[in-house]
Symmetry: C2
Subunit: 744 residues, 2 copies
């Protein structure tokens, strides 16, 4: 008898195999709804509605959920381009029910029912039936009859399931139940609510709520800690179709709907689904430099197009790197109401096991040993922080939580990371879920330089300050250094206590002893430089001994990815310096553009490693990453520069090729307001010294602040971008026209 499944076959349908396990399936998507009959008589009832009211059976003739936009204004959901009502939990919204005759609360039995997903049940919080009656206490129901209409105010509980509810009103007459609408459905989307003090995502500061939930214009920091750069990122939660796409993503998480009450669960599951690993999630990572089968991670202008593409067919979108994962996750989380921001950690350690140590091997000749150096330090790594109460943990661990969607080499089998309490990272309490140890290592690892010799390895430098040198995020008040949220000052007693605590909870810190005197030091100094320019790098040798020292220097110049991974060496320089006792000596090395441009990948990062060896055999080492500055795209509004709803606006993007080379296969992308806000065009070549100008027209659809983002991408030059913030104002005539269209 065969006991194994053929390898080509997928696993059999679980609903069949699990028949004897589950009484009924569990709803996991708000896109599945059960249809209800127009008239559902009780099992033992005679057919037909009956009522003791003198005017006969009561019937619902209309339900108004919008109240002329008042609900949406009060719930701050008016900017969404979406057909159904959107409200936030823990906050009242109103509706007006119109009947065929005056409503009498003493006689008439009318109920408002909400259900989400298939198999909805009250004890699973996926179904609720609320009597329109003064005695009803659930959902803070309040009703004000007014002739043949009733105003009903409802407050979904602050721990309500989040997602798209199907809603209807039932009227019971005798033993017959009639529903409104009799055909089709009415929907209410319920979101998290940072304005509600009983909510797990409650933020007390209004400016922060505005930024971390409502703002759709993003900005992601990159570059190096010495030369911070930023790229615009349009979060785009208000773009047409994006809310639907976010609800689609939430459904794809496959979590029981009841679990959506809990923000910890929702964040964790979304961090898994934003990457394609395990579950064919939203984005496919690619760090290869070859993006021909998709869009270069550098070329995206924002999240909207990615989410719309994923929602269209459920297939992973190609390609992403860390800021794309972080940007898209931020869009989804802000869209459903969870306060979220993108954080950039400069010099981010990616060791797979969280042993708090990154080993860099130097070979016998003074260059980096590429086969032995397994871990890398990313120039920067982006993740998200979400604000929440950790109801599953001791109270002091609430607040900002690390949630990282970039697929890492985690040891836990699933490509997701967090939420991990930032307070817990600072205090070293890495014993709590989720992934605290991993997040801790990313900001706290030591860098250990080992020199390989014939007879084993020798530790020549330990750098405890390089990793997590700077942690930045964007707040309502601009860029803010939040390094002290994650770490106590290096060398402080609190820092030492944190390290002890983390080691006590399994962060396997292997304290390595320096095997050199450390009296010879080396430093690399580099000015800010433009990509394509020559510049001078200074090697500074510092002699703390009481003797003159002759030092042989080997400088290896490489092009690297932003992940710290080596792409190619472009130069090895051998120099020597004689350094007097207790002084410094400088050696200048010219770095020539024509050398490095040949090897350039992605974001213009160069890495310099210098090893010095004294005649007595003492080794000193220094390393530096230089991010070359890139040109920017200019975006200009033509004509009067006015942005009005419904009025065409004209935008010009300009790029000047100041490089010494012809750029080939140049893709230019521009994202702006309106229905078809995403434009792209390919330019076969852009010659040296020429300018590229591209004019596009947009028609804004909604009032308020908006953002234009442009990106230029070519295999030879990536991550060229620009942005322009605009404010769309109402245009009286256009608004009236729109209104006419809405009421066919």
């Amino acid at each position: 008898m065969s006991v194994a499944l053929p390898s080509a076959l997928p696993l059999p349908d679980l609903s069949m195999l699990y028949r004897g396990r589950l009484n009924a399936p569990i709803g996991k998507s708000d896109a599945e709804t059960e249809d209800f009959p127009e008239l559902e008589p009780y099992a033992d009832a005679e057919a037909g509605p009956r009522s003791s009211h003198p005017l006969g059976p009561i019937e619902v003739v209309n339900v108004d959920l919008e109240l002329g936009g008042q609900n949406r204004m009060e719930h701050r959901t008016n900017r969404f381009d979406y057909q159904d009502l959107i409200v936030r939990r823990g906050q009242p919204f109103g509706m007006v029910i119109a009947f065929n005759r005056p409503f009498d609360a003493a006689i008439d039995e009318v109920a408002v029912e909400f259900r989400i997903g298939a198999h909805a049940l009250s004890d699973k919080h996926t179904y609720v039936s609320l009597q329109v009656h003064p005695s009803e206490t659930r959902w803070g129901l309040r009703c004000e009859p007014n002739g043949s209409t009733v105003f009903v105010s409802l407050t979904p509980p602050p721990d309500c399931v989040v997602g798209k509810f199907c809603m209807y009103v039932t009227a019971v007459n005798g033993r017959a139940i009639m529903r409104f609408p009799t055909r089709g459905h009415m929907y209410v989307v319920i979101l998290f609510n940072t304005w509600c003090s009983e909510e797990d995502v409650y933020l007390p500061d209004e400016a922060e709520r505005q930024e971390y939930v409502l703002n759709d214009a993003g900005e992601i920091y990159n570059g190096t800690n010495f030369a911070v750069a930023k790229r615009p990122w349009h979060l785009g939660q208000y773009r047409p179709g994006v809310l639907e796409a976010c609800l689609f993503v939430l459904n794809r998480c496959g979590m029981p709907l009841e679990d959506r009450r809990d923000v910890v669960n929702v964040c964790r599951r979304l961090s898994a689904l934003i990457n394609a690993q395990d579950d064919r999630g939203v984005l496919l990572g690619n760090w290869s430099g070859n993006y021909r089968m998709g869009v270069s991670p550098n070329a995206w202008t924002g999240s909207a197009k990615i989410l719309l593409s994923y929602a269209a067919n459920g297939n992973p979108v190609a390609y992403a790197q860390c800021w794309v994962f972080a940007g898209v996750l931020t869009t989804v989380l802000r869209c459903i109401g969870i306060p979220t921001r993108v954080v950039t950690n400069f010099n981010s350690a990616h060791d797979s096991t969280g042993n708090l140590k990154t080993d860099i091997y130097i070979d016998r000749f003074g260059s980096m040993d590429r086969t032995a150096t397994r871990d890398s330090i990313w120039n920067y790594h982006c993740w998200c922080e979400c604000w929440m109460k950790r109801i599953d943990l001791p109270g002091h661990l609430s607040g900002w939580q690390v949630v990282d969607a970039t697929p890492q080499e985690t040891s836990n089998g699933l490509f997701c990371c967090g939420p991990a309490s930032v307070v817990g990272i600072k205090s070293g309490e890495v014993c709590f879920p989720y992934d605290g140890r991993f997040a801790f290592a990313q900001v706290n690892s030591d860098v250990v330089y080992r020199r390989r010799t014939y007879r084993g390895d020798k530790i020549v430098r330990i750098d405890t300050t390089h990793v997590g040198a700077l942690i930045l995020t964007r707040t309502p008040w601009g860029a803010q250094n939040i390094t002290l949220n994650y770490k106590h000052p290096e060398g402080s007693a609190a820092d030492a206590a944190t390290m002890d605590r983390a080691v006590n909870y399994g962060c396997g810190r292997e304290r390595s002893a320096l095997e050199e005197t450390g009296e010879m030091e080396l430093e690399l100094v580099c000015p800010a430089a433009q990509l394509g320019q020559d510049f001078a790098l200074k090697l500074v040798v510092k002699n703390s001994t009481a003797e003159e020292q002759k030092v042989n220097l080997t400088l290896t110049c490489s092009v690297i990815y932003y992940t710290g991974v080596h792409s190619g060496d472009f130069k090895v320089v051998k120099e020597s310096a004689t350094c007097q006792p207790l002084t410094s000596e400088e050696v200048s090395v010219e770095v020539v553009a024509s050398d490095y441009m040949k090897h350039m990948v992605d974001q213009g990062c160069l890495s310099f490693t210098c090893v010095g060896e004294t005649t007595s055999g003492e080794t000193c080492v220094a390393a530096k990453v230089v991010k070359l500055q890139l040109p920017v795209l200019s975006i200009e509004l033509d004509e009067d520069g006015e942005c009005k709803v419904g009025k065409e606006m004209s935008v010009t993007v300009t790029f000047n090729n100041l490089f010494n080379m012809t750029l080939a296969d140049v893709e230019l992308r521009l994202e702006g307001p309106g229905d078809t806000g995403d434009r792209e065009k390919t330019f076969p070549t852009v010659d040296p010294g020429t300018s590229l100008k591209w004019n596009q027209k947009f028609i804004p659809k909604t009032e308020g602040p908006d953002q234009l983002v442009a990106c230029l991408d070519s295999p030879m030059l990536r991550e060229i971008n620009g942005s322009l913030h605009i404010n769309v104002t109402a245009d009286k005539d256009a608004t009236d026209k729109d209104k006419d269209k809405d009421e066919p």
Copy 2:
């Protein structure tokens, strides 16, 4: 441009996409080894070995790892049927290296090297090179030269990577390195070591170590808490090929080899890989009652055949239910040295969200409402407990940990569970990883009976003692009740404190208020009964009021799966009783075999739900699960009953069909000692009143205790089994013969 992958395509190869992310791949399997060259000259060396020793270059001519079985005896790995050396970490083992001339530690440079997997590196603990020299301190190296041989003692560190190491000896002569063996490999398998006090899996008690690591004869408890039954389960870690299969499973976990140092990681990853979900792991769950495409979960006699089948082709084996998952996980964990036992929790709550509440709905007619009742309570559920130090958690949470391989409806996206500290479950500290909340709910949920009425639900009974009524495991001293390891006594102050703590850490307990006086009580009493027999069930009505009460009783009799899920009702009985003030009244109901046998599934479980209603509208409810007793198989040794290595023994299995029916498609399995220990045979029919006798012959291969297990399975009758413990003794003649064969 296309931005999405076609849905039919698998995700692209990550090693290609991640070129710019990882410096080098990370070894995840000990089955991949790098080949090394016979002679590896230094990069700048002249070829050819040179030595300053007067007798010329030193050369290794032989390495003896076995020392005549001494290493295996000392490491308690002698019972494994495996070709290479198996040792445990943290404990010395010896080897003898033979050279071409006397070894001189002052001149000769000889090293012993161990590497595991591809891309082995010393800082990842996957590679170590040990000098055969008195100054070498790592791996506790000790060397005793004796002419041209050297005895070397090595102690792998107590946190060594676990798995199959490739091992060789290098001799350096001048600038050339020569290796032994020059072709092929030598291997050493390193396991966890419960005998080592510095180990995370250290157990102080020798009897417990023998049971939880070395014992291959298992026993799994089932039935109900009132009628505990047990099934034999041969763990089979010593069967030929099983150790290889366990190493194969470990490789399939796909964890970085470095992570195998950590028992917490290893247990968590294995709990994920034992089920087929997510990762095409070992076993496919099936609770449908239809097992035609594979083996019925009830029919397995032990783990060996399952693991061998999986290792043969890497495809999931069909089918399993909880005890199969637990049994196979126990085999793998004991095999690699982690103390493990199977635990059975009677009345195990399986609520998907850990809200500590299982709702059972009664319809208006007094029967269970099958559509509304979503959660089920399993008659029993089996999981594993593993003994370990939790280096990732506060110290008091060490000890036994729940590790569950049965695929659950977890909220965390991956089908794995644990390790969760048993101490933490008892104290309500469910805030620590992994899955404490889920494990807590399984033993602590309340059962809430709700009666559906025209105007909403009414809570008619809350049972706080039913779930987790009994927790049993097998210890060196036989079956032991370990309920108090998991829970304080119900109603104690400590129990209340635990509940408060768990709720404080997010166990969303919804305290439901009873909506009845509780003065009318109902109890069901049932004698022990055999499957196929009629028996009488007593309904006991207890009246605590001061008035006479007339009660209408509805008894629903159902056949259920062991998961509590309903298969079919076979009888509904309406009775009434008149009960005097402050007395009890009994009603007897006859349960007839011909009624229930028609609906019987799997393990002979009946469920009785009785609802009583007084004339005043007060409702009382009681439920009882009855596990009918099954016949057993008898196993007998023929002739003299002697079991000797290499000597054929004859075994007879007997089954008497005492049922009133013909059994069709009967499969009989018998597992015994030796190379081809798994036998199976199908009998088309077994007529009523007849006996089935089956004779099989085995030739034991290894000395020591062993176990014969037989299982009979048919669609009409499952879980019929029997076992026989034997002790295989050495047979002088046979042993000598075997030895001759081993040295060709």
